[in-house]
Assembly symmetry: C2
Protein backbone atom coordinates (compact mmCIF):
# COMPACT_ATOMS: atom_id res chain seq x y z
CA UNK A 1 0.00 0.00 0.00
CA UNK A 2 1.49 3.27 -1.19
CA UNK A 3 0.97 6.82 -0.09
CA UNK A 4 1.49 9.14 -3.08
CA UNK A 5 0.64 12.81 -3.42
CA UNK A 6 0.36 13.86 -7.04
CA UNK A 7 0.86 17.60 -6.51
CA UNK A 8 2.73 19.72 -4.02
CA UNK A 9 4.57 22.99 -4.31
CA UNK A 10 6.14 23.74 -0.95
CA UNK A 11 8.83 26.17 0.10
CA UNK A 12 11.07 23.12 0.32
CA UNK A 13 13.20 22.60 3.41
CA UNK A 14 14.61 19.85 5.55
CA UNK A 15 11.66 20.08 8.00
CA UNK A 16 9.21 19.47 5.14
CA UNK A 17 11.24 16.54 3.78
CA UNK A 18 11.31 15.15 7.34
CA UNK A 19 7.53 15.55 7.60
CA UNK A 20 7.20 13.55 4.39
CA UNK A 21 9.09 10.75 6.12
CA UNK A 22 7.20 11.07 9.39
CA UNK A 23 4.00 11.14 7.39
CA UNK A 24 5.04 7.99 5.45
CA UNK A 25 4.68 9.68 2.07
CA UNK A 26 6.29 7.36 -0.48
CA UNK A 27 6.23 9.68 -3.48
CA UNK A 28 5.34 13.28 -4.31
CA UNK A 29 4.87 14.94 -7.70
CA UNK A 30 6.41 18.37 -7.14
CA UNK A 31 5.90 21.40 -9.36
CA UNK A 32 9.19 22.81 -10.59
CA UNK A 33 7.85 25.35 -13.11
CA UNK A 34 4.92 27.74 -13.31
CA UNK A 35 6.14 30.33 -15.81
CA UNK A 36 9.81 29.44 -16.04
CA UNK A 37 11.72 29.26 -19.30
CA UNK A 38 13.68 26.12 -20.20
CA UNK A 39 16.85 27.52 -18.70
CA UNK A 40 15.12 28.62 -15.51
CA UNK A 41 13.52 25.18 -15.20
CA UNK A 42 16.92 23.52 -15.53
CA UNK A 43 18.07 25.75 -12.66
CA UNK A 44 15.19 24.36 -10.59
CA UNK A 45 16.32 20.84 -11.45
CA UNK A 46 19.85 21.76 -10.39
CA UNK A 47 18.48 23.04 -7.09
CA UNK A 48 16.72 19.69 -6.60
CA UNK A 49 19.97 17.87 -7.37
CA UNK A 50 21.55 19.81 -4.53
CA UNK A 51 18.68 18.84 -2.21
CA UNK A 52 18.89 15.18 -3.28
CA UNK A 53 22.57 15.33 -2.39
CA UNK A 54 22.15 17.21 0.88
CA UNK A 55 19.05 15.39 2.14
CA UNK A 56 19.81 11.99 0.61
CA UNK A 57 18.62 10.27 3.76
CA UNK A 58 15.12 11.73 3.25
CA UNK A 59 14.44 12.16 -0.47
CA UNK A 60 15.48 10.67 -3.79
CA UNK A 61 14.80 11.67 -7.40
CA UNK A 62 11.93 9.60 -8.82
CA UNK A 63 11.94 8.60 -12.49
CA UNK A 64 10.01 5.32 -12.44
CA UNK A 65 7.99 3.34 -9.90
CA UNK A 66 11.14 1.33 -9.14
CA UNK A 67 12.38 4.51 -7.47
CA UNK A 68 9.27 4.57 -5.28
CA UNK A 69 9.88 1.00 -4.15
CA UNK A 70 13.53 1.71 -3.49
CA UNK A 71 12.60 4.88 -1.59
CA UNK A 72 10.02 3.01 0.50
CA UNK A 73 12.51 0.24 1.30
CA UNK A 74 15.07 2.79 2.49
CA UNK A 75 12.57 5.03 4.34
CA UNK A 76 12.78 7.90 1.88
CA UNK A 77 10.38 9.83 -0.37
CA UNK A 78 10.65 9.72 -4.17
CA UNK A 79 10.29 13.16 -5.77
CA UNK A 80 8.84 13.34 -9.32
CA UNK A 81 9.10 16.55 -11.35
CA UNK A 82 6.25 18.27 -13.15
CA UNK A 83 5.39 21.59 -14.82
CA UNK A 84 2.13 23.52 -14.39
CA UNK A 85 2.66 25.27 -17.73
CA UNK A 86 4.42 24.29 -20.95
CA UNK A 87 6.73 27.30 -20.61
CA UNK A 88 9.79 25.04 -20.04
CA UNK A 89 9.53 23.72 -23.61
CA UNK A 90 9.22 27.29 -24.88
CA UNK A 91 8.19 27.02 -28.56
CA UNK A 92 10.33 23.96 -29.22
CA UNK A 93 8.78 20.51 -29.56
CA UNK A 94 12.22 18.90 -29.32
CA UNK A 95 12.43 20.05 -25.70
CA UNK A 96 9.68 17.55 -24.80
CA UNK A 97 12.16 14.69 -25.01
CA UNK A 98 14.88 16.77 -23.34
CA UNK A 99 12.78 17.62 -20.27
CA UNK A 100 11.64 13.98 -20.00
CA UNK A 101 15.28 12.86 -20.02
CA UNK A 102 15.90 15.39 -17.24
CA UNK A 103 13.11 13.83 -15.19
CA UNK A 104 9.90 15.70 -16.02
CA UNK A 105 6.90 13.36 -15.80
CA UNK A 106 3.86 15.69 -15.92
CA UNK A 107 3.28 18.83 -17.98
CA UNK A 108 0.17 20.96 -17.95
CA UNK A 109 -0.72 22.15 -21.43
CA UNK A 110 -1.79 25.53 -20.04
CA UNK A 111 -1.92 27.40 -16.77
CA UNK A 112 -4.98 29.67 -16.42
CA UNK A 113 -4.14 31.58 -19.65
CA UNK A 114 -3.84 30.64 -23.31
CA UNK A 115 -0.61 28.83 -24.07
CA UNK A 116 0.91 27.79 -27.37
CA UNK A 117 -0.80 24.42 -26.86
CA UNK A 118 -4.15 24.86 -25.12
CA UNK A 119 -6.45 27.30 -23.38
CA UNK A 120 -6.38 28.05 -19.66
CA UNK A 121 -9.43 28.10 -17.44
CA UNK A 122 -9.35 31.89 -16.97
CA UNK A 123 -9.59 32.79 -20.67
CA UNK A 124 -12.93 34.02 -21.94
CA UNK A 125 -12.85 31.76 -25.01
CA UNK A 126 -11.53 28.23 -25.47
CA UNK A 127 -10.84 27.19 -29.08
CA UNK A 128 -9.44 23.82 -28.03
CA UNK A 129 -6.05 22.28 -28.71
CA UNK A 130 -3.88 24.31 -31.11
CA UNK A 131 -1.87 23.08 -34.10
CA UNK A 132 1.27 22.92 -31.98
CA UNK A 133 -0.73 21.41 -29.12
CA UNK A 134 -1.70 18.35 -31.19
CA UNK A 135 1.91 17.83 -32.20
CA UNK A 136 3.18 18.21 -28.65
CA UNK A 137 0.59 15.80 -27.20
CA UNK A 138 1.77 13.12 -29.66
CA UNK A 139 5.38 13.80 -28.71
CA UNK A 140 4.53 13.63 -24.99
CA UNK A 141 2.80 10.30 -25.65
CA UNK A 142 5.89 9.04 -27.43
CA UNK A 143 8.38 9.79 -24.66
CA UNK A 144 6.16 9.27 -21.61
CA UNK A 145 5.51 12.82 -20.41
CA UNK A 146 1.99 12.83 -18.96
CA UNK A 147 -0.55 15.44 -20.09
CA UNK A 148 -2.00 17.31 -17.10
CA UNK A 149 -5.01 19.58 -17.68
CA UNK A 150 -5.55 20.83 -14.11
CA UNK A 151 -5.57 24.53 -15.03
CA UNK A 152 -6.90 24.18 -18.58
CA UNK A 153 -10.31 25.11 -19.96
CA UNK A 154 -13.01 22.53 -20.61
CA UNK A 155 -12.97 22.19 -24.39
CA UNK A 156 -9.18 22.04 -24.48
CA UNK A 157 -9.24 19.30 -21.83
CA UNK A 158 -11.81 17.20 -23.64
CA UNK A 159 -9.93 17.56 -26.93
CA UNK A 160 -6.64 16.67 -25.23
CA UNK A 161 -8.22 13.44 -23.96
CA UNK A 162 -9.42 12.69 -27.50
CA UNK A 163 -6.10 13.49 -29.19
CA UNK A 164 -3.88 11.75 -26.65
CA UNK A 165 -3.12 8.11 -27.38
CA UNK A 166 -2.31 7.57 -23.71
CA UNK A 167 -4.28 8.41 -20.55
CA UNK A 168 -4.21 12.02 -19.41
CA UNK A 169 -4.67 13.59 -15.99
CA UNK A 170 -6.02 16.36 -13.88
CA UNK A 171 -3.51 16.02 -11.06
CA UNK A 172 -5.21 18.44 -8.68
CA UNK A 173 -8.86 19.53 -8.73
CA UNK A 174 -12.27 18.51 -7.42
CA UNK A 175 -15.69 18.13 -9.05
CA UNK A 176 -17.38 21.39 -9.97
CA UNK A 177 -20.69 19.84 -8.90
CA UNK A 178 -19.43 19.70 -5.30
CA UNK A 179 -17.86 23.17 -5.23
CA UNK A 180 -18.32 25.36 -8.30
CA UNK A 181 -14.85 26.90 -8.36
CA UNK A 182 -13.53 27.87 -11.78
CA UNK A 183 -10.69 25.38 -11.33
CA UNK A 184 -12.93 22.45 -10.37
CA UNK A 185 -14.00 20.11 -13.15
CA UNK A 186 -17.41 19.63 -14.68
CA UNK A 187 -18.80 16.14 -15.18
CA UNK A 188 -18.07 16.00 -18.90
CA UNK A 189 -14.46 16.92 -18.24
CA UNK A 190 -14.09 14.24 -15.54
CA UNK A 191 -15.72 11.77 -17.93
CA UNK A 192 -13.28 12.69 -20.72
CA UNK A 193 -10.32 12.15 -18.37
CA UNK A 194 -11.50 8.90 -16.82
CA UNK A 195 -12.95 7.31 -19.93
CA UNK A 196 -9.55 7.32 -21.64
CA UNK A 197 -8.01 5.57 -18.61
CA UNK A 198 -6.82 8.81 -17.09
CA UNK A 199 -6.69 9.93 -13.49
CA UNK A 200 -7.69 12.83 -11.32
CA UNK A 201 -6.16 13.83 -7.98
CA UNK A 202 -8.43 15.28 -5.31
CA UNK A 203 -7.20 18.70 -4.21
CA UNK A 204 -6.94 19.98 -0.65
CA UNK A 205 -6.33 23.57 -1.71
CA UNK A 206 -8.97 25.63 0.13
CA UNK A 207 -10.25 27.43 -2.99
CA UNK A 208 -11.14 23.98 -4.39
CA UNK A 209 -12.99 22.91 -1.22
CA UNK A 210 -16.66 23.40 -0.40
CA UNK A 211 -16.58 25.98 2.40
CA UNK A 212 -12.92 26.66 1.55
CA UNK A 213 -10.76 26.70 4.70
CA UNK A 214 -13.79 25.68 6.75
CA UNK A 215 -14.47 22.55 4.73
CA UNK A 216 -14.95 19.54 6.98
CA UNK A 217 -13.10 16.30 6.45
CA UNK A 218 -16.48 14.56 6.35
CA UNK A 219 -17.63 16.73 3.46
CA UNK A 220 -14.35 16.13 1.59
CA UNK A 221 -14.45 12.36 2.09
CA UNK A 222 -18.13 12.12 1.18
CA UNK A 223 -17.32 14.03 -2.04
CA UNK A 224 -14.60 11.46 -2.76
CA UNK A 225 -17.08 8.63 -2.17
CA UNK A 226 -19.72 10.21 -4.41
CA UNK A 227 -17.21 10.91 -7.18
CA UNK A 228 -15.60 7.49 -7.30
CA UNK A 229 -19.02 5.85 -7.24
CA UNK A 230 -19.94 7.78 -10.38
CA UNK A 231 -16.68 7.55 -12.34
CA UNK A 232 -14.86 4.47 -10.98
CA UNK A 233 -12.46 4.31 -8.04
CA UNK A 234 -9.49 3.27 -10.22
CA UNK A 235 -9.38 6.78 -11.73
CA UNK A 236 -8.77 8.74 -8.54
CA UNK A 237 -6.01 9.62 -6.13
CA UNK A 238 -4.77 12.59 -4.13
CA UNK A 239 -3.15 15.71 -5.61
CA UNK A 240 -3.21 17.87 -2.52
CA UNK A 241 -1.88 21.10 -4.04
CA UNK A 242 -0.21 21.63 -0.67
CA UNK A 243 1.89 24.81 -0.71
CA UNK A 244 3.53 24.55 2.71
CA UNK A 245 5.47 27.52 4.11
CA UNK A 246 5.15 29.60 0.94
CA UNK A 247 5.12 33.38 1.28
CA UNK A 248 2.25 35.20 -0.43
CA UNK A 249 4.69 36.53 -3.03
CA UNK A 250 4.66 33.01 -4.48
CA UNK A 251 0.92 32.90 -5.11
CA UNK A 252 1.34 36.26 -6.86
CA UNK A 253 4.07 34.73 -9.06
CA UNK A 254 1.78 31.80 -9.88
CA UNK A 255 -1.04 34.09 -10.91
CA UNK A 256 0.84 36.95 -12.54
CA UNK A 257 4.06 35.42 -13.83
CA UNK A 258 5.30 37.90 -16.42
CA UNK A 259 2.16 38.12 -18.55
CA UNK A 260 0.79 41.35 -17.08
CA UNK A 261 2.19 44.42 -15.35
CA UNK A 262 -0.88 44.50 -13.14
CA UNK A 263 -2.05 42.29 -10.28
CA UNK A 264 -4.35 39.41 -11.08
CA UNK A 265 -5.95 37.84 -8.02
CA UNK A 266 -6.92 34.57 -9.65
CA UNK A 267 -8.94 32.53 -7.17
CA UNK A 268 -8.23 35.12 -4.49
CA UNK A 269 -9.38 38.74 -4.28
CA UNK A 270 -7.97 42.15 -3.42
CA UNK A 271 -9.31 41.60 0.11
CA UNK A 272 -7.65 38.16 0.34
CA UNK A 273 -4.73 38.19 -2.08
CA UNK A 274 -2.55 35.57 -0.36
CA UNK A 275 -2.62 31.86 0.25
CA UNK A 276 -5.76 30.83 2.14
CA UNK A 277 -5.26 28.88 5.39
CA UNK A 278 -5.43 25.09 5.05
CA UNK A 279 -8.25 23.29 6.86
CA UNK A 280 -6.94 22.10 10.25
CA UNK A 281 -7.18 18.42 9.26
CA UNK A 282 -4.78 18.86 6.34
CA UNK A 283 -1.97 21.29 6.97
CA UNK A 284 1.23 19.34 6.37
CA UNK A 285 2.65 16.09 5.07
CA UNK A 286 1.90 14.63 8.48
CA UNK A 287 -1.84 14.72 7.82
CA UNK A 288 -2.48 12.07 5.16
CA UNK A 289 -3.48 9.71 7.97
CA UNK A 290 -6.46 11.96 8.72
CA UNK A 291 -7.73 11.45 5.20
CA UNK A 292 -7.31 7.69 5.46
CA UNK A 293 -9.41 7.69 8.61
CA UNK A 294 -11.95 9.96 6.94
CA UNK A 295 -12.22 7.69 3.91
CA UNK A 296 -12.76 4.64 6.12
CA UNK A 297 -15.47 6.57 7.95
CA UNK A 298 -17.48 7.09 4.76
CA UNK A 299 -17.34 3.35 4.02
CA UNK A 300 -14.21 2.57 2.04
CA UNK A 301 -12.46 -0.69 2.89
CA UNK A 302 -8.69 -0.93 3.30
CA UNK A 303 -8.01 -1.80 -0.33
CA UNK A 304 -10.13 1.12 -1.51
CA UNK A 305 -8.45 3.53 0.88
CA UNK A 306 -5.09 2.29 -0.40
CA UNK A 307 -6.18 2.76 -4.00
CA UNK A 308 -7.11 6.40 -3.40
CA UNK A 309 -4.16 7.20 -1.14
CA UNK A 310 -1.51 5.98 -3.56
CA UNK A 311 -1.98 2.60 -5.21
CA UNK A 312 -3.85 4.07 -8.20
CA UNK A 313 -1.15 6.65 -8.82
CA UNK A 314 1.48 3.93 -8.45
CA UNK A 315 -0.21 1.90 -11.21
CA UNK A 316 -0.60 5.02 -13.37
CA UNK A 317 3.06 6.00 -12.92
CA UNK A 318 4.11 2.43 -13.79
CA UNK A 319 2.19 2.54 -17.07
CA UNK A 320 2.80 6.09 -18.24
CA UNK A 321 6.31 7.35 -17.47
CA UNK A 322 8.13 5.26 -20.08
CA UNK A 323 8.28 5.41 -23.87
CA UNK A 324 5.23 4.41 -25.85
CA UNK A 325 5.25 0.69 -26.53
CA UNK A 326 5.46 -0.34 -30.18
CA UNK A 327 2.18 -1.81 -31.41
CA UNK B 1 8.75 61.80 -51.81
CA UNK B 2 9.88 58.68 -49.99
CA UNK B 3 10.31 55.12 -51.12
CA UNK B 4 9.68 52.80 -48.16
CA UNK B 5 9.16 49.05 -48.17
CA UNK B 6 7.42 47.87 -45.02
CA UNK B 7 8.50 44.22 -45.19
CA UNK B 8 11.49 42.37 -46.54
CA UNK B 9 13.34 39.31 -45.38
CA UNK B 10 16.31 38.81 -47.69
CA UNK B 11 19.42 36.72 -47.37
CA UNK B 12 21.19 39.99 -46.64
CA UNK B 13 24.40 40.81 -48.48
CA UNK B 14 26.31 43.74 -49.84
CA UNK B 15 24.79 43.26 -53.34
CA UNK B 16 21.28 43.55 -51.88
CA UNK B 17 22.18 46.64 -49.83
CA UNK B 18 23.67 48.11 -53.01
CA UNK B 19 20.47 47.34 -54.92
CA UNK B 20 18.53 49.20 -52.23
CA UNK B 21 20.68 52.23 -52.99
CA UNK B 22 20.50 51.80 -56.76
CA UNK B 23 16.74 51.35 -56.38
CA UNK B 24 16.50 54.53 -54.24
CA UNK B 25 14.86 52.74 -51.35
CA UNK B 26 14.91 55.13 -48.39
CA UNK B 27 13.77 52.74 -45.69
CA UNK B 28 13.00 49.05 -45.26
CA UNK B 29 11.26 47.26 -42.40
CA UNK B 30 13.22 44.03 -42.14
CA UNK B 31 12.10 40.90 -40.31
CA UNK B 32 14.63 39.81 -37.72
CA UNK B 33 12.59 37.07 -36.01
CA UNK B 34 10.15 34.37 -37.07
CA UNK B 35 10.39 31.85 -34.23
CA UNK B 36 13.47 33.12 -32.41
CA UNK B 37 13.70 33.43 -28.65
CA UNK B 38 14.70 36.71 -27.06
CA UNK B 39 18.35 35.70 -26.95
CA UNK B 40 18.34 34.52 -30.55
CA UNK B 41 16.69 37.78 -31.60
CA UNK B 42 19.39 39.77 -29.85
CA UNK B 43 21.93 37.74 -31.84
CA UNK B 44 20.14 38.88 -35.02
CA UNK B 45 20.39 42.48 -33.82
CA UNK B 46 24.10 41.96 -33.19
CA UNK B 47 24.49 40.63 -36.72
CA UNK B 48 22.79 43.79 -38.01
CA UNK B 49 25.14 45.92 -35.91
CA UNK B 50 28.00 44.24 -37.71
CA UNK B 51 26.38 44.96 -41.09
CA UNK B 52 25.71 48.60 -40.12
CA UNK B 53 29.38 48.85 -39.28
CA UNK B 54 30.66 47.03 -42.34
CA UNK B 55 28.27 48.55 -44.90
CA UNK B 56 27.90 51.95 -43.27
CA UNK B 57 28.07 53.63 -46.66
CA UNK B 58 24.88 51.80 -47.72
CA UNK B 59 22.69 51.20 -44.69
CA UNK B 60 21.97 52.70 -41.28
CA UNK B 61 19.86 51.53 -38.33
CA UNK B 62 16.48 53.28 -38.38
CA UNK B 63 14.74 54.16 -35.12
CA UNK B 64 12.69 57.23 -36.10
CA UNK B 65 11.80 59.05 -39.31
CA UNK B 66 14.73 61.41 -38.64
CA UNK B 67 16.92 58.41 -39.50
CA UNK B 68 15.12 58.09 -42.85
CA UNK B 69 15.79 61.73 -43.67
CA UNK B 70 19.42 61.43 -42.62
CA UNK B 71 19.76 58.24 -44.66
CA UNK B 72 18.18 59.86 -47.71
CA UNK B 73 20.46 62.90 -47.40
CA UNK B 74 23.53 60.66 -47.27
CA UNK B 75 22.38 58.23 -49.97
CA UNK B 76 21.77 55.33 -47.63
CA UNK B 77 18.84 53.11 -46.63
CA UNK B 78 17.40 53.14 -43.11
CA UNK B 79 16.74 49.64 -41.75
CA UNK B 80 13.90 49.21 -39.22
CA UNK B 81 13.57 46.00 -37.21
CA UNK B 82 10.41 43.94 -36.85
CA UNK B 83 9.25 40.52 -35.66
CA UNK B 84 6.76 38.27 -37.44
CA UNK B 85 5.92 36.48 -34.18
CA UNK B 86 5.94 37.56 -30.53
CA UNK B 87 8.47 34.81 -29.74
CA UNK B 88 11.19 37.40 -28.94
CA UNK B 89 9.25 38.59 -25.89
CA UNK B 90 8.77 34.97 -24.81
CA UNK B 91 6.21 35.03 -21.99
CA UNK B 92 7.49 38.29 -20.52
CA UNK B 93 5.59 41.54 -20.97
CA UNK B 94 8.59 43.51 -19.70
CA UNK B 95 10.50 42.48 -22.82
CA UNK B 96 8.21 44.71 -24.91
CA UNK B 97 10.02 47.81 -23.68
CA UNK B 98 13.40 46.06 -23.91
CA UNK B 99 12.97 45.09 -27.57
CA UNK B 100 11.71 48.58 -28.41
CA UNK B 101 14.81 50.07 -26.80
CA UNK B 102 16.87 47.71 -28.95
CA UNK B 103 15.13 49.02 -32.06
CA UNK B 104 12.11 46.80 -32.70
CA UNK B 105 9.29 48.81 -34.29
CA UNK B 106 6.78 46.18 -35.48
CA UNK B 107 5.68 42.95 -33.82
CA UNK B 108 3.15 40.49 -35.19
CA UNK B 109 0.93 39.12 -32.45
CA UNK B 110 0.96 35.69 -34.09
CA UNK B 111 2.51 33.88 -37.03
CA UNK B 112 0.18 31.32 -38.64
CA UNK B 113 -0.31 29.43 -35.35
CA UNK B 114 -1.77 30.30 -31.97
CA UNK B 115 0.57 32.43 -29.88
CA UNK B 116 0.33 33.54 -26.27
CA UNK B 117 -1.31 36.72 -27.58
CA UNK B 118 -3.47 35.98 -30.61
CA UNK B 119 -4.48 33.34 -33.13
CA UNK B 120 -2.69 32.71 -36.40
CA UNK B 121 -4.41 32.40 -39.75
CA UNK B 122 -3.73 28.64 -40.06
CA UNK B 123 -5.49 27.63 -36.84
CA UNK B 124 -8.91 26.03 -37.15
CA UNK B 125 -10.43 28.19 -34.42
CA UNK B 126 -9.83 31.82 -33.50
CA UNK B 127 -10.93 32.85 -30.00
CA UNK B 128 -9.57 36.38 -30.40
CA UNK B 129 -7.03 38.24 -28.30
CA UNK B 130 -5.95 36.40 -25.14
CA UNK B 131 -5.64 37.75 -21.61
CA UNK B 132 -1.92 38.29 -22.11
CA UNK B 133 -2.57 39.67 -25.59
CA UNK B 134 -4.67 42.54 -24.24
CA UNK B 135 -1.98 43.42 -21.74
CA UNK B 136 0.78 43.28 -24.34
CA UNK B 137 -1.12 45.44 -26.83
CA UNK B 138 -1.46 48.15 -24.18
CA UNK B 139 2.25 47.88 -23.41
CA UNK B 140 3.13 48.05 -27.11
CA UNK B 141 0.95 51.17 -27.37
CA UNK B 142 2.76 52.70 -24.42
CA UNK B 143 6.28 52.30 -25.78
CA UNK B 144 5.61 52.66 -29.52
CA UNK B 145 5.95 49.09 -30.79
CA UNK B 146 3.46 48.75 -33.65
CA UNK B 147 0.98 45.85 -33.71
CA UNK B 148 1.22 43.92 -37.00
CA UNK B 149 -1.48 41.33 -37.76
CA UNK B 150 -0.24 40.13 -41.16
CA UNK B 151 -0.27 36.41 -40.27
CA UNK B 152 -3.08 36.53 -37.70
CA UNK B 153 -6.61 35.21 -37.95
CA UNK B 154 -9.58 37.48 -38.63
CA UNK B 155 -11.27 37.72 -35.24
CA UNK B 156 -7.95 38.25 -33.48
CA UNK B 157 -7.12 41.05 -35.94
CA UNK B 158 -10.43 42.82 -35.52
CA UNK B 159 -10.19 42.57 -31.72
CA UNK B 160 -6.60 43.86 -31.79
CA UNK B 161 -7.78 46.92 -33.71
CA UNK B 162 -10.49 47.46 -31.10
CA UNK B 163 -8.21 46.96 -28.08
CA UNK B 164 -5.30 48.99 -29.40
CA UNK B 165 -5.34 52.67 -28.49
CA UNK B 166 -3.03 53.38 -31.44
CA UNK B 167 -3.29 52.42 -35.11
CA UNK B 168 -2.34 48.87 -36.03
CA UNK B 169 -1.06 47.37 -39.26
CA UNK B 170 -1.03 44.54 -41.69
CA UNK B 171 2.42 45.22 -43.10
CA UNK B 172 2.22 42.68 -45.93
CA UNK B 173 -0.93 41.23 -47.49
CA UNK B 174 -3.49 41.92 -50.20
CA UNK B 175 -7.29 41.91 -50.27
CA UNK B 176 -8.86 38.45 -50.12
CA UNK B 177 -11.49 39.66 -52.59
CA UNK B 178 -8.79 40.05 -55.26
CA UNK B 179 -6.99 36.77 -54.55
CA UNK B 180 -8.53 34.45 -51.95
CA UNK B 181 -5.30 33.28 -50.32
CA UNK B 182 -5.56 32.37 -46.66
CA UNK B 183 -3.10 35.16 -45.86
CA UNK B 184 -4.96 37.86 -47.77
CA UNK B 185 -7.39 39.99 -45.82
CA UNK B 186 -11.17 40.05 -45.96
CA UNK B 187 -12.99 43.38 -46.21
CA UNK B 188 -14.02 43.48 -42.56
CA UNK B 189 -10.41 42.98 -41.52
CA UNK B 190 -9.18 45.75 -43.83
CA UNK B 191 -11.95 47.96 -42.47
CA UNK B 192 -10.92 47.23 -38.87
CA UNK B 193 -7.31 48.13 -39.67
CA UNK B 194 -8.01 51.29 -41.65
CA UNK B 195 -10.85 52.63 -39.55
CA UNK B 196 -8.60 52.93 -36.51
CA UNK B 197 -6.07 54.91 -38.56
CA UNK B 198 -3.98 51.87 -39.35
CA UNK B 199 -2.14 50.87 -42.49
CA UNK B 200 -1.76 47.94 -44.79
CA UNK B 201 1.19 47.20 -47.07
CA UNK B 202 0.52 45.58 -50.45
CA UNK B 203 2.46 42.36 -50.82
CA UNK B 204 4.41 41.21 -53.86
CA UNK B 205 4.86 37.67 -52.55
CA UNK B 206 3.56 35.41 -55.33
CA UNK B 207 1.22 33.40 -53.07
CA UNK B 208 -0.56 36.68 -52.30
CA UNK B 209 -0.92 37.65 -55.97
CA UNK B 210 -3.75 36.81 -58.33
CA UNK B 211 -2.17 34.34 -60.73
CA UNK B 212 0.77 34.01 -58.34
CA UNK B 213 4.11 34.29 -60.18
CA UNK B 214 2.22 35.04 -63.41
CA UNK B 215 0.38 38.02 -61.94
CA UNK B 216 0.62 41.02 -64.26
CA UNK B 217 1.69 44.41 -63.02
CA UNK B 218 -1.54 45.79 -64.49
CA UNK B 219 -3.63 43.43 -62.36
CA UNK B 220 -1.61 44.33 -59.26
CA UNK B 221 -1.86 48.08 -59.83
CA UNK B 222 -5.57 47.91 -60.63
CA UNK B 223 -6.06 46.00 -57.36
CA UNK B 224 -4.25 48.83 -55.57
CA UNK B 225 -6.50 51.39 -57.25
CA UNK B 226 -9.67 49.48 -56.38
CA UNK B 227 -8.58 48.97 -52.78
CA UNK B 228 -7.58 52.54 -52.02
CA UNK B 229 -10.77 53.79 -53.61
CA UNK B 230 -12.79 51.70 -51.17
CA UNK B 231 -10.77 52.22 -47.98
CA UNK B 232 -8.88 55.52 -48.47
CA UNK B 233 -5.46 55.99 -50.02
CA UNK B 234 -3.90 57.28 -46.79
CA UNK B 235 -4.07 53.78 -45.30
CA UNK B 236 -1.91 51.97 -47.87
CA UNK B 237 1.71 51.46 -48.78
CA UNK B 238 4.01 48.71 -49.93
CA UNK B 239 5.12 45.72 -47.83
CA UNK B 240 6.67 43.65 -50.57
CA UNK B 241 7.53 40.53 -48.53
CA UNK B 242 10.56 40.27 -50.80
CA UNK B 243 12.74 37.31 -49.75
CA UNK B 244 15.71 37.84 -52.10
CA UNK B 245 18.35 35.12 -52.42
CA UNK B 246 16.88 32.93 -49.68
CA UNK B 247 17.43 29.17 -49.90
CA UNK B 248 14.29 27.02 -49.62
CA UNK B 249 15.44 25.88 -46.16
CA UNK B 250 14.40 29.34 -44.97
CA UNK B 251 10.79 29.04 -46.06
CA UNK B 252 10.73 25.69 -44.24
CA UNK B 253 12.02 27.43 -41.08
CA UNK B 254 9.32 30.09 -41.45
CA UNK B 255 6.59 27.48 -41.72
CA UNK B 256 7.83 24.79 -39.36
CA UNK B 257 9.96 26.61 -36.81
CA UNK B 258 10.18 24.23 -33.88
CA UNK B 259 6.46 23.61 -33.36
CA UNK B 260 6.23 20.29 -35.21
CA UNK B 261 8.57 17.44 -36.06
CA UNK B 262 6.84 17.09 -39.41
CA UNK B 263 6.84 19.24 -42.54
CA UNK B 264 4.13 21.85 -42.92
CA UNK B 265 3.90 23.32 -46.41
CA UNK B 266 1.97 26.43 -45.47
CA UNK B 267 1.06 28.31 -48.62
CA UNK B 268 3.17 25.90 -50.66
CA UNK B 269 2.62 22.18 -51.27
CA UNK B 270 4.63 18.97 -51.32
CA UNK B 271 4.96 19.46 -55.09
CA UNK B 272 6.16 23.05 -54.64
CA UNK B 273 7.68 23.29 -51.17
CA UNK B 274 10.09 26.16 -51.80
CA UNK B 275 9.92 29.87 -52.47
CA UNK B 276 7.85 30.62 -55.58
CA UNK B 277 9.53 32.71 -58.32
CA UNK B 278 8.82 36.44 -58.17
CA UNK B 279 6.93 37.99 -61.08
CA UNK B 280 9.48 39.39 -63.57
CA UNK B 281 8.45 42.99 -62.88
CA UNK B 282 9.31 42.73 -59.18
CA UNK B 283 12.35 40.61 -58.44
CA UNK B 284 14.74 42.88 -56.52
CA UNK B 285 15.07 46.22 -54.77
CA UNK B 286 15.75 47.69 -58.24
CA UNK B 287 12.14 47.19 -59.29
CA UNK B 288 10.14 49.70 -57.26
CA UNK B 289 10.22 52.01 -60.29
CA UNK B 290 8.14 49.48 -62.23
CA UNK B 291 5.39 49.75 -59.64
CA UNK B 292 5.49 53.56 -59.78
CA UNK B 293 5.03 53.43 -63.54
CA UNK B 294 2.25 50.87 -63.11
CA UNK B 295 0.44 52.99 -60.55
CA UNK B 296 0.62 56.04 -62.86
CA UNK B 297 -0.80 53.89 -65.66
CA UNK B 298 -3.94 53.09 -63.67
CA UNK B 299 -4.53 56.78 -63.05
CA UNK B 300 -2.71 57.84 -59.89
CA UNK B 301 -1.13 61.28 -59.93
CA UNK B 302 2.38 61.93 -58.61
CA UNK B 303 1.28 62.75 -55.08
CA UNK B 304 -0.81 59.61 -54.91
CA UNK B 305 2.00 57.45 -56.27
CA UNK B 306 4.28 59.00 -53.65
CA UNK B 307 1.76 58.32 -50.89
CA UNK B 308 1.61 54.62 -51.76
CA UNK B 309 5.31 54.17 -52.46
CA UNK B 310 6.46 55.61 -49.15
CA UNK B 311 4.95 58.88 -47.96
CA UNK B 312 2.12 57.14 -46.08
CA UNK B 313 4.52 54.84 -44.27
CA UNK B 314 6.73 57.84 -43.47
CA UNK B 315 3.78 59.60 -41.81
CA UNK B 316 2.81 56.39 -40.00
CA UNK B 317 6.36 55.81 -38.74
CA UNK B 318 6.53 59.43 -37.57
CA UNK B 319 3.39 59.04 -35.49
CA UNK B 320 3.78 55.55 -34.09
CA UNK B 321 7.36 54.67 -33.18
CA UNK B 322 7.62 56.88 -30.09
CA UNK B 323 6.08 56.65 -26.64
CA UNK B 324 2.38 57.28 -26.24
CA UNK B 325 1.68 60.96 -25.70
CA UNK B 326 0.15 61.90 -22.37
CA UNK B 327 -3.49 62.98 -22.77
Amino acid sequence: MYRIDCLQFANWSEPIFRQMRDGSVDAVHVTIAYHETFRETVAQMSQWNRWFDRYGDLIVHGRTVADIDAAKASNRTAIFFGFQNPSPIEADIDLVEIVHTLGARFMQLSYNNQSLLATGCYEENDPGITRMGSEVIREMNRVGLVVDMSHSADRSTIEAAEISQRPITVTHANPHAWHPALRNKRDDVIRAITSNGGMMGFSLYPHHLKGKSDCSIESFCQMVADTVERFGIEHFGIGSDLCQDQPDSIVEWMRVGRWTKHIDYGEGSSAAPGFPPQPPWFETNLDFGNIEVGLASVGFDNTEVGAIMGDNWYRFFAENFGPEKAE
